[in-house]
C-alpha cells in the first residue's frame, strides 16, 4: 500500500497511524518504535487513531524535519514490532559532484523513474562529493511526479542517505567502502573488475564453468606457444579493453606465426618467433594483455555473430535475463562489434534453422550459464544487480561466456529499435533497488 504522510505541528516525536492497521495483521509496539527513512532514524511514540484512513499517516513536525522527508509524494511503510520504516529511499549515484547533475543528466535519469507508480518513495539523484557520512544526509534531487508545470520533475534538497544505491560511475574506493558499510551492502554494481580478474574469479570454480574459454596472462611469447599447443588459434586482448579495442588473433603454421588485427588484416613482420616477441613487447609496454583460446563463433555471410545477454535482478532479487541481442560483424572481421544487431530468436531461426522450441532451450542454456557466472561473481560479497555478458556460440552451438560487463550499454536494445526493452532494462534496476531496500514493487 502507498501512504500519504502529513505533518502535525502541535505534537512532538509522535507517529499517528490508523486503527485499521493495528486491528489487522500489524503489531506495533505503541510504547516506542524506531522510525527510519534511509539511513536516518529516531525514536518515536505511536498513537493509534480511529479517524485516520488506513493509508494515512501523520508525523510530528520535528520528525519530518529530522528525517528530511518531502511530503508531496507517497511512501511505502514497513512495520516491524519495534521499528517503522518509510521508503523506499533509493539513490542513483550518477555523478561526481552536485554541479554535474545537469538538467541533461537529470533528464536522462527520468527513464529510471518510469515505473515510479509501482514503487513510490524517495528516488534521489545524488553525487559522490555531496554525501555527508557523519550526518547520514545527502544533497541532491528527488523525483517528484507531481511537478506538472515544471519541465523537469526533480526538486533539489537535502535528504536522508539512501540505503539502496545504484551507481554507474567510477567512485573512489573510500566512498565505495564507506557506502557499503553504512548501507549494509546496499550499494550495488560498484566494484570494477577487469577481464583478468574476471577470469581469475571464474577459474576458482572451474568445475562449474565449462563455458569459460581458457585464458592466461600474457607476459611473453612462451604464453602464446603454450596456448597454441592446445588450441589452433588464440586471441590476445587488453585486460581493460572494451569493444574489441586492441584485439589480435594469432595462429601458427609449423614455425611460422600469423597475426591478424580485429578487422582480419594481417599484421606485417610477425612471421618469425623473434618478430612476434617484438610485437608483443610493443603492445605490452602500454597495458596488460591476456591470451585466450580462440573460438570459432557461428556466423553467416562471412559475418561473425556474438551475443549481448543482459542479466538483471528485479524485484524478486533473482537473476533474470532481460534480453539477448545478437551482433553480426562486418564480413571478414574477427570481432562482431559493431556491425549490426538482430534479435536472438530471429538470427537462430533465419540463418541456423532452429525450431522455436530449440531456440527456447538454447536461450535457457545461455541464461543458466550466465546465472552461474553471476553467482560466482557474487561470492566475493559484492552486491551486483546488472550485467551485460558477452557470449558466443561456437560451430557446435556450444555456449561460451567471454566477459561480464558491469557498466554495459543500457542502450543496446535501442540499436535494434527495441524501445520497450530499453525501458525494461532501466526499470529492472529500480525494481531491484526497491526490493533491496525491503520494499515492494506493485
Amino acid at each position: 500500500m502507498f501512504y500519504n504522510i502529513s505533518s502535525v505541528n502541535d505534537s512532538r516525536g509522535t507517529i499517528f497511524i490508523s486503527s485499521r492497521l493495528t486491528s489487522g495483521s500489524i503489531f506495533v509496539n505503541v510504547n516506542g518504535v524506531t522510525l527510519c527513512a534511509g539511513l536516518r532514524s529516531m525514536s518515536a511514540r505511536v498513537s493509534v487513531q480511529h479517524d485516520l484512513m488506513e493509508n494515512e499517516i501523520l508525523l510530528s513536525k520535528d520528525i519530518i524535519d529530522y528525517l528530511m522527508l518531502p511530503l508531496d509524494i507517497k511512501y511505502q511503510v514497513k512495520f516491524d514490532s519495534h521499528s517503522i520504516k518509510l521508503g523506499p529511499v533509493i539513490g542513483l549515484l550518477m555523478s561526481e559532484s552536485f554541479d554535474m547533475l545537469t538538467r541533461r543528466r537529470l533528464k536522462d535519469l527520468l527513464t529510471y523513474c518510469l515505473i515510479y507508480p509501482e514503487v513510490h518513495g524517495l528516488i534521489l539523484a545524488i553525487s559522490e562529493k555531496d554525501i555527508d557520512f557523519e550526518k547520514g544526509l545527502v544533497k541532491g534531487y528527488y523525483y517528484s511526479p507531481n511537478l506538472k508545470e515544471a519541465a523537469l520533475p526533480w526538486k533539489e534538497g537535502i535528504f536522508p542517505l539512501p540505503d539502496s544505491i545504484f551507481t554507474r560511475i567510477y567512485i573512489s574506493d573510500d566512498t565505495r567502502l564507506n557506502l557499503q558499510k553504512v548501507s549494509d551492502n546496499g550499494l550495488f554494481n560498484s566494484k570494477y573488475f577487469n577481464k583478468w580478474e574476471f577470469w581469475r574469479m571464474m577459474t576458482k570454480f572451474k568445475a562449474y564453468c565449462g563455458f569459460i574459454p581458457e585464458t592466461k596472462r600474457l607476459y611473453s611469447i612462451d604464453d602464446i606457444d603454450h596456448m597454441l599447443s592446445s588450441f589452433s588459434s588464440v586471441y590476445i586482448k587488453p585486460t581493460n579493453g572494451t569493444l574489441s579495442r586492441g584485439l589480435y588473433m594469432i595462429k601458427k603454421d609449423n614455425e611460422n606465426y600469423h597475426v591478424e588485427d580485429k578487422h582480419g588484416d594481417k599484421i606485417e613482420h610477425t612471421d618469425s618467433r623473434e618478430e612476434v616477441q617484438k610485437f608483443i613487447d610493443d603492445i605490452l609496454s602500454g597495458r596488460g594483455y591476456l591470451v585466450q583460446q580462440a573460438l570459432e563463433p557461428i556466423g553467416f555471410e562471412g559475418r561473425h555473430v556474438d551475443f549481448r545477454v543482459i542479466m538483471q535482478k528485479n524485484h524478486s532479487r533473482m537473476w533474470n535475463c532481460t534480453t539477448i541481442i545478437a551482433f553480426a560483424g562486418r564480413p571478414g572481421e574477427i570481432c562482431s562489434n559493431w556491425g549490426y544487431t538482430l534479435k536472438f530468436e530471429d538470427i537462430l531461426e533465419k540463418y541456423f534453422h532452429f525450431s522455436q522450441q530449440e531456440i527456447y532451450l538454447k536461450k535457457q542454456e545461455i541464461i543458466s550459464a550466465c546465472r552461474t557466472v553471476c553467482g560466482i561473481l557474487e561470492m566475493t560479497g559484492e552486491n551486483y544487480g546488472d550485467f551485460g555478458f558477452d557470449v558466443v556460440l561456437d560451430k557446435d552451438f556450444k555456449v561460451w561466456i567471454l566477459e561480464a560487463n558491469k557498466r554495459h550499454f543500457h542502450t543496446v536494445p535501442l540499436w535494434n529499435n527495441d524501445e520497450e526493452t530499453y525501458y525494461e532494462v532501466k526499470a529492472n534496476t529500480l525494481r531491484y533497488a526497491t526490493a533491496l531496500d525491503g520494499f515492494k514493487v506493485y
Binding site: 514497513k78 518510469l114 524478486s316 536461450k363 535457457q364 506493485y442
Partner: protein
C-alpha cells in the same frame, strides 16, 4: 539431493490420462534442465493414502517421455483439477502447504475480497450477487449498462448485457454466434425475462464498462501471472484479445483474435513507445496487486490468467481471474511462441521452490 520431486495432478482418473495429457505435461517439463529432479504426473484415483504411494508417470528427459511406475508422494504438487477438501487436507497434512493452485474461487469471491483492498478498489467494477430482481433494478439506478454473468462461468458463456434506455430495458446475449436481444417495457415483462435467464445465487451483476474496441470488437488483455522461484509474482506474457464484431464479449472462443498487447495499445490510443510501456506496466501493476492480495488471504496460487479491461478514459479494470486451467494457448494465437514456452514451464519453477529449492528468502513485512 540433486533436485526436487514435483507432482502434476492432471486428472481425477488414471484412465483419462491420454497421450495429449502427457504431451501437454512435456511442455510443462520443457525447462527440465534448470528444474532437475523427478517430475511425476498422476491421477487422483492412483493415490494410495495408506502407503503414501502414487502410481503414475515419471518424466524421462533423455527421450522426452513419461515412464509408468510407483513413486513416493512428491514434495509439491501442481494441481490442474478440482479436489475435495478431504483430499486437500490429506495432502496438507502429509506434504505441507505445497499444493497449488489450491483454491478455486469464483467471480463473487473475488469481488468480496478485492473490494476491501484500498489499492484495488478503483480497478474493480462494482458487483452484486443476483438473488432477486431488485438487485438488478438497484444497479440500473446507478449504471445504464450492466453485465450479468454466471459467477462460475468461463470463456464468456452465459454473459448477458443489460442496457437501460429511457424506460426500456434491453437484455442482450449471445447464442449460436448471434446476438439475441429482448426489450422489456413493463414490470411483468422484466420479471419474466429475469426469471428465465438467471438463477438466484449463481449469477453476479456487474457495472458495465465502456471498454475500448478495435475494428468493431471489444478488447481486453490477458495477463499470465506466475510465481517464480523466489515466490514473487511476475508477468510472463500479456496479450490483447479482440472479440468478434458487435459481440458483447471479447472472448476468442467466440470468434475473436489475439494480438501482441503493446502494438494494439499503441494503435488504439495513438501512444508513443514510452506511453505504451507505462500503460503495459500499469496493467501488470494492477495484476500484481491482485495476486499479492490473494497471497495475503492465505491461498497458495502459482499460475493465474487475469483479464484486464481498459475503458475509454484509460482506466484499468480487473474483470476476472482464471485459476482453473489458465491455458496459455492465447500466446500461440498471438504468435508469441516463446512466451508460450515460458508460461508452460512457469509452474514447474514455482513447484521447485515450493519443494524446498527456493531461490532466496524474501521479506514479507511491507503492508
Amino acid at each position: 539431493m540433486f533436485g526436487p520431486c514435483i507432482g502434476i495432478l492432471s486428472d481425477q482418473r488414471d484412465s483419462s490420462i491420454t497421450k495429449t495429457t502427457l504431451k501437454e505435461a512435456s511442455m510443462n517439463a520443457l525447462d527440465y534442465a534448470s528444474i532437475k529432479g523427478a517430475m511425476i504426473l498422476f491421477a487422483l484415483d492412483k493415490v494410495n493414502k495408506v502407503d503414501q504411494l502414487i502410481e503414475g508417470y515419471c518424466y524421462n528427459p533423455k527421450n522426452d517421455s513419461w515412464e509408468r511406475g510407483r513413486f513416493p508422494y512428491p514434495l509439491s504438487i501442481y494441481r490442474k483439477i478440482t479436489i475435495s477438501d478431504e483430499w486437500q487436507n490429506h495432502f496438507l497434512s502429509v506434504i505441507g502447504d505445497t499444493v497449488f493452485n489450491n483454491y478455486f474461487f469464483d467471480k463473487w469471491d473475488m469481488y468480496r475480497w478485492f473490494s476491501k483492498e484500498l489499492n484495488l478498489l478503483p480497478h474493480i467494477p462494482e458487483t452484486t450477487l443476483f438473488e432477486e430482481k431488485r438487485n438488478i433494478t438497484e444497479m440500473l439506478e446507478k449504471y445504464n449498462v450492466l453485465y450479468i454473468k454466471p459467477s462460475q462461468g468461463m470463456k464468456g458463456t452465459g454473459i448477458v448485457k443489460v442496457i437501460k434506455e429511457n424506460q426500456k430495458i434491453t437484455f442482450m446475449h449471445r447464442a449460436d454466434d448471434k446476438n439475441i436481444e429482448v426489450t422489456t417495457e413493463g414490470e411483468n415483462d422484466f420479471k419474466a425475462i429475469v426469471g428465465k435467464l438467471f438463477e438466484p445465487g449463481n449469477y453476479i451483476i456487474q457495472q458495465g464498462l465502456e471498454l475500448i474496441s478495435f475494428k468493431g470488437g471489444i478488447v481486453d488483455f490477458r495477463c499470465a501471472m506466475q510465481k517464480n522461484e523466489a515466490f514473487e509474482w511476475v508477468c510472463n506474457g500479456i496479450f490483447a484479445r479482440t472479440g468478434a464484431k458487435e459481440s458483447i464479449v471479447s472472448n476468442i472462443s467466440d470468434g475473436g483474435t489475439a494480438l501482441p498487447s503493446l502494438e494494439l495499445m499503441k494503435e488504439i490510443f495513438n501512444l508513443s513507445e514510452i506511453e505504451a510501456f507505462n500503460m503495459k506496466n500499469s496493467i501488470i501493476s494492477v495484476c500484481s496487486k491482485a495476486c499479492m492480495a490473494l497471497d495475503e488471504y492465505g491461498l497458495n496460487l502459482g499460475t493465474l490468467g487475469l483479464d484486464i479491461g481498459i475503458d475509454k478514459n484509460r482506466n484499468i479494470w480487473l474483470i476476472e481471474i482464471n485459476n482453473r486451467r489458465p491455458h496459455p494457448r492465447i500466446a500461440l494465437r498471438a504468435n508469441d511462441i516463446q512466451s508460450y514456452y515460458a508460461i508452460m514451464s512457469g509452474p514447474m519453477h514455482y513447484a521447485k521452490a515450493l519443494a524446498g529449492f527456493r531461490y532466496k528468502e524474501v521479506d514479507d513485512h511491507v503492508l
